[in-house]
């Protein structure tokens, strides 16, 4: 028994099955985590290797090169780049997106083991890092304090971080810029020399005094006592009274030779929040956890915890990714509701029956809910992409139900009982319904096969539309007939038609449209050449328009209400000076941008060359500013306008060497830059070229934030030792450098314990004795013989410029000059830059190429074109099999170019760039547009088979099929309208798709309705036209 017959005969079972689906869907919906984007296992790894004491060039030849060479043979490697710093080599590996990272991790490790044995001694074992989205902070807090500032780290750690770590799903919590407590022992070198003791001796005495030691057991009477020597300092003040030596029989106390300061760490970083001192706190989630619920829990907990803090400590959120997620999700949910409403209105207008509208509208929630089950089973999240996919699907899921219901209504109106009408009417159309769905699937399913980053974005779209559309077909041939058999009634023909009733107003209007269309077709059929020439003209015109005016872009930029600026000042600038500039910039922000509610500026670096430096450049001459804006609805200026104005302001600072203002908070939208890559070994040559290119690119209109990737040379003091003199005194470079390091950077002698926390006790010279070259030369070094000699005796201190960090890409030295397009499109900027640098003369060993996001764009569009071809082939296959003909698919596919004409017009009129998303919309159109053609051609075939003459068949089919075509087109178009018009958070990503689909569909529907019949007539001429004559020839016996 067929599915629709079973459904009609067992209404309760059918209802229960669909209820079960809905219940499961709602259960899934409750369980699905909410996130901004699908979880992406980004195929990036980095190999970090430290080699203490080597400069960047040494690192490059000894570490980076061998590592790069080894990595080059790892499977699925897409690109390798590296930076060699002083002491540190970081090799970045980018793999293909579909690669299995666990396997690759193994390969990478094996390869590294191979090269490690050949590396110089003293190189630490390379460490491999894997990147994941869970490393991106989801919450950013600014913590400010006045009186409590010195103890801030401990307070926050105890009262906030530890309790917050208990929140479910939190990966880790970091604090940045916290004023760590340190105990400094600042030594006067003249006193040391006078008493003839060294800094190292003091260090070992402090270490030896500050300890508790278990010393065995003592049995006394019946008791067994544990014996301990208790020497640990209980107060930092005790250090002062420590005896560090003897002079003339009198003890020398530490306070005699040094100052003990229990204080906060020396300033290498200046952290200000709204110009007040403070620190930042970052919250990371576990991978796969629900960002929105974690953020909610953290904020709830935080509210309670803040009450336990001293009143001067303020905690304010700088960035809350969940805000943007919630905003986007809310926005999209609204879009979805509007789409639903529009679809229902369209159905109601065309059918004019409440019950029929209800039956059709019911397939919408059912189809959409099934996609939640898919998301739940596949472990995905409810995100911007899945929700947008739903709003794309919403206009298409009603189509099948409409076709089925229309036929059932026809049967009922002819007097059948609803039950029988439901069974037999569905029997007549079920195959056609499935085939039109197949066409849609043919376009959307290939999306699930796309690789790369675009693939990650499109995968969900492909699956969700495939699943919802398939479900809708299933519902259309089971639930729809069942409901129709129960709900529809045979209405007696009304005698008196109400004056303002449906039939009199909308019905008549629709009839008029039908008649007008039939007349137009008849005219077109007799003026085929005119029509075709006109169509050709329109198409060529649109291509011309596209080439001339439509700009290409990669991903649309999104307004995430956050602004980041990385500012680089003159190299070697002290952090105190950097901070002064930061204060001035803050002043400008406060004055000019009332939209900005929070500014967090950090100047300098926490620990140079640390793990965090992989993500953002830091240094004493750098300022990083993060600013949060009020939400989109509450301001008139977009973040892009503010950023642009901010750039103009930064331009006026003479102190600023480089700056980069970025408007993207997280990933996804990202910063779209065009990078000019200069490959070449010689620093001087490439530096000169880079500067030249920077100058030229800066002159291009629309190129902003022009940056050279290579850092400026750093001023450096080098101690050059005389090896002969060293040998004379029994010293080596290693011992001397350790002496210098202990005196300047400091020697960690021991840890002072207080309430379970440890604080470093650091010995070093008083600052007064270590801030000039003369001071450094006066440092005393103890020889093994016990003599003291000055550093000056062993060598000299010279001022140098140290070589910059060395960047590699594809295993070659590289400098990139990057530029961000503002007010122009990415593609346009890339081509302008290309013409600008074309005439630059380059030495033969230097190679220049244009890449960056532009490279991704080109790659993305290539993927998209492949997708287009694949869709076209699949659609052709489906249609050719349906019609058992090679000609018919061509007739229908003539409408596709006009869909693109529509896209171009829509982009042109709305002044939208052709981004990857807009391009995707154009690809999707293939399926949607073809569907219209199929409905029409199928019916023409039918009419021909029923014996109508060619033109008559075409005209009659047009008259009869106009409404279903218009109806399905209108539901799809109107469902996209909210998407295209939405202005809320995150809408920038999807509006281009809405615009392209609407433009393409409106235009192609109009053209299809004329072009397809005309093309049908053209193709049908041969053989098709005089079918009777042909058949007569096959049965000659009748005429003999």
């Amino acid at each position: 028994m067929s599915i629709y017959k079973s459904a009609v005969n067992n209404p309760i079972t059918t209802l229960m099955i669909f209820t079960a689906v809905i219940v499961m869907g709602i259960y899934s919906l409750v369980q699905i985590p909410i996130d901004l984007y699908p979880e992406i296992d980004a195929p990036f790894m980095s190999v970090m290797t430290t080699y203490a004491g080597a400069n960047a060039a040494d690192i490059e030849t000894n570490i980076t090169k061998p590592v790069e060479d080894a990595m080059n043979s790892v499977d699925k490697l897409k690109e390798v780049s590296s930076i060699s710093y002083d002491n540190l080599s970081v090799v970045f590996l980018e793999f293909e997106w579909e690669a299995n990272l666990d396997e690759i991790m193994n390969d990478v490790r094996t390869m590294l083991d191979g090269v490690y044995s050949n590396m110089p001694e003293g190189v630490d074992r390379p460490v491999v890092f894997k990147f994941s989205t869970s490393m991106m902070p989801i919450l950013f807090f600014a913590i400010t304090a006045n009186e409590s500032y010195p103890g801030l780290e401990k307070i926050i750690d105890e009262k906030i971080v530890t309790p917050l770590n208990r929140v479910d799903g939190i990966g880790s919590i970091f604090t940045v810029g916290s004023p760590g407590r340190k105990i400094y022992v600042n030594i006067d070198p003249r006193q040391l020399d006078a008493y003839n003791i060294t800094l190292e001796q003091i260090g070992s005495i402090i270490g030896a005094e500050n300890l508790n030691m278990p010393s065995g057991n003592v049995k006394m009477g019946k008791t067994d006592y544990q014996l301990r020597v208790q020497g640990e300092f209980t107060e930092s003040d005790q250090l002062k009274k420590l005896v560090v030596g003897n002079s003339g029989g009198k003890p020398i106390y530490l306070k005699d030779v040094a100052e003990v300061n229990d204080t906060i760490k020396d300033k290498t970083m200046d952290e200000r929040i709204n110009s007040e001192v403070g620190m930042r706190m970052l919250v990371m989630k576990q991978s796969g956890a629900n960002t929105v619920s974690i953020a909610r829990d953290v904020n709830k907990q935080l509210k309670k915890l803040v009450k336990t803090l001293p009143p001067d400590i303020q905690i304010e959120p700088i960035m809350d990714t969940s805000d943007f997620i919630r905003g986007s999700i809310k926005n999209l949910s609204q879009t979805l509701m509007w789409a639903l409403l529009f679809v229902v209105i369209v159905v109601l207008v065309f059918l004019g029956r409440w019950r029929a509208t209800f039956i059709i509208a019911l397939t919408i929630p059912i189809s959409l809910i099934v996609s939640f089950i898919y998301l739940y089973i596949s472990g995905s999240s409810l995100n911007v992409i899945s929700l947008s996919s739903l709003s794309i699907a919403i206009g298409m899921v009603v189509d099948d139900a409409i076709v089925v219901l229309e036929n059932i209504t026809k049967h009922i109106e002819r007097g059948s009982t609803p039950r029988e009408a439901a069974i037999y009417a569905t029997n007549e159309v079920w195959l056609a319904v499935i085939i039109t769905t197949l066409v849609i699937v043919a376009v959307f399913f290939p999306l699930t096969l796309v690789g790369g980053l675009t693939g990650v974005m499109f995968k969900q779209l492909g699956w969700i539309v495939t699943i919802t559309v398939s479900t809708s077909t299933l519902a259309a041939i089971s639930l729809t007939p069942m409901l129709a058999s129960k709900l529809l009634r045979l209405r007696p023909k009304k005698e008196n038609i109400a004056k303002f009733g449906y039939n009199n107003i909308i019905g008549k209007a629709l009839d008029k449209v039908d008649d007008f269309y039939e007349k137009s077709i008849r005219w077109a059929l007799f003026h085929k050449k005119v029509v075709m020439l006109l169509a050709l003209f329109v198409f060529i015109g649109s291509i011309f328009l596209a080439v001339k005016f439509v700009k290409t872009d990669y991903m649309p930029m999104t307004d995430e209400s956050s602004l980041n600026a990385a500012i680089e000042l003159e190299t070697g600038l002290r952090v105190e000076e950097t901070a002064k500039i930061a204060r001035r910039i803050e002043g400008i922000i406060e004055e000019r941008y009332p939209e900005i509610t929070l500014i967090s500026a950090s100047s300098g670096a926490d620990d140079e060359g640390s793990f965090s430096s992989m993500f953002s450049a830091t240094g004493s001459n750098r300022i990083n500013i993060m600013a949060r804006l009020v939400s989109i609805e509450e301001r008139s200026r977009s973040v892009f306008e503010i950023a642009d104005d901010f750039r103009d302001q930064l331009d006026q600072f003479a102190e600023i060497v480089n700056y980069n203002v970025s408007t993207s908070g997280g990933m996804g939208g990202g910063d779209n830059t065009v990078d000019v890559e200069i490959y070449g070994y010689d620093f001087d040559v490439t530096n000169k070229l880079a500067n030249d290119i920077k100058l030229r690119v800066s002159n291009i209109n629309g190129a902003r934030d022009v940056m050279i990737s290579r850092e400026k040379e750093k001023p450096e003091l080098q101690v050059v030792l005389d090896r002969e003199k060293l040998a004379l005194h029994g010293l080596t470079s290693a011992t001397v450098s350790a002496y210098i390091r202990n005196r300047v950077s400091g020697l960690i002698a021991s840890q002072y314990r207080e309430e379970g926390d440890e604080y470093d006790i650091i010995l070093r010279l008083k600052e007064y004795y270590r801030n000039s070259i003369t001071d450094l030369e006066a440092i005393s070094i103890m020889t093994p013989m016990g003599n003291k000699i000055k550093l000056k005796e062993l060598g000299e201190v010279k001022e140098y410029w140290s070589p910059p960090n060395i960047e590699h890409k594809r295993r070659q030295r590289i400098v990139t000059v990057s530029a961000k397009p503002v007010g122009v499109s990415l593609g346009e900027l890339a081509s302008q830059i290309r013409t600008e640098i074309e005439d630059i003369e380059t030495p033969p060993e230097v190679f220049i190429s244009v890449g960056g996001a532009y490279e991704d764009q080109v790659e993305g569009f290539l993927d998209l074109s492949l997708l287009l071809v694949l869709s076209l082939v699949l659609v052709f296959i489906v249609m050719a099999s349906q019609f058992e003909s090679f000609a018919m698919p061509f007739v229908i596919m003539f409408s596709i170019p006009f869909a693109f004409t529509g896209v171009i017009l829509a982009l042109f009129i709305t002044n939208t760039t052709l981004s990857l998303i807009a391009g995707l919309g154009a690809v999707l159109l293939v399926g949607i547009v073809v569907k219209n053609g199929i409905v029409l051609v199928d019916y023409i075939n039918l009419m021909r088979d029923r014996g109508y003459e060619l033109y008559e068949a075409i005209a009659l089919s047009g008259h009869s099929r106009l409404r279903p075509v218009l109806m399905t087109a209108f539901t799809t178009i109107l469902a996209m309208v909210p998407l295209a018009l939405s202005t809320g958070e995150g809408s920038e990503i999807w509006t281009p798709m809405g615009i392209t689909v609407i433009g393409g569909l409106v235009f192609s529907t109009i053209v299809t309705m004329i072009i397809v019949p005309v093309m049908y007539a053209v193709f049908a001429r041969r053989g098709e036209r005089d079918k009777k004559q042909k058949v007569r020839k096959r049965f000659v016996f009748m005429d003999q």
Binding site: S416, Y424, L942, D945
Partner: protein
């Protein structure tokens, strides 16, 4: 005894069944899914894409006095909507076994 052959659009199945029950016609032979075409205006019933509808047919042998009532009801059924279609044809039964 007369044999009545009724051919009808499938969508009339339930009505024909009910008609037999009401008129007390117990014996019949039934064919589902039969193809056909009306002599004058009736559309082809072929179950194809072009002509998707199908007919069913029933043959019943009834006493002479019931024939007119049956034909009358068939006529009324046909009157509901001419396009759907139902036809009845009557033969004489010469012998039965």
């Amino acid at each position: 005894m007369k044999a009545v052959f009724i051919v009808f659009n499938q969508t009339n199945t339930e009505r024909v069944e009910y008609m037999f029950d009401r008129l007390g016609i117990r014996g019949f032979t039934w064919w589902e899914n039969v193809q056909g075409r009306g002599t004058e205006t009736g559309e082809p019933r072929q179950g194809t894409h072009t002509w998707p509808e199908m007919n069913s047919a029933a043959l019943t042998v009834i006493p002479d006095e019931k024939v007119d009532t049956l034909l009358e009801k068939v006529q009324k059924l046909d009157d509901i909507h001419k396009e759907v279609g139902v036809r009845a044809f009557v033969w004489d039964i010469i012998k039965t076994a």
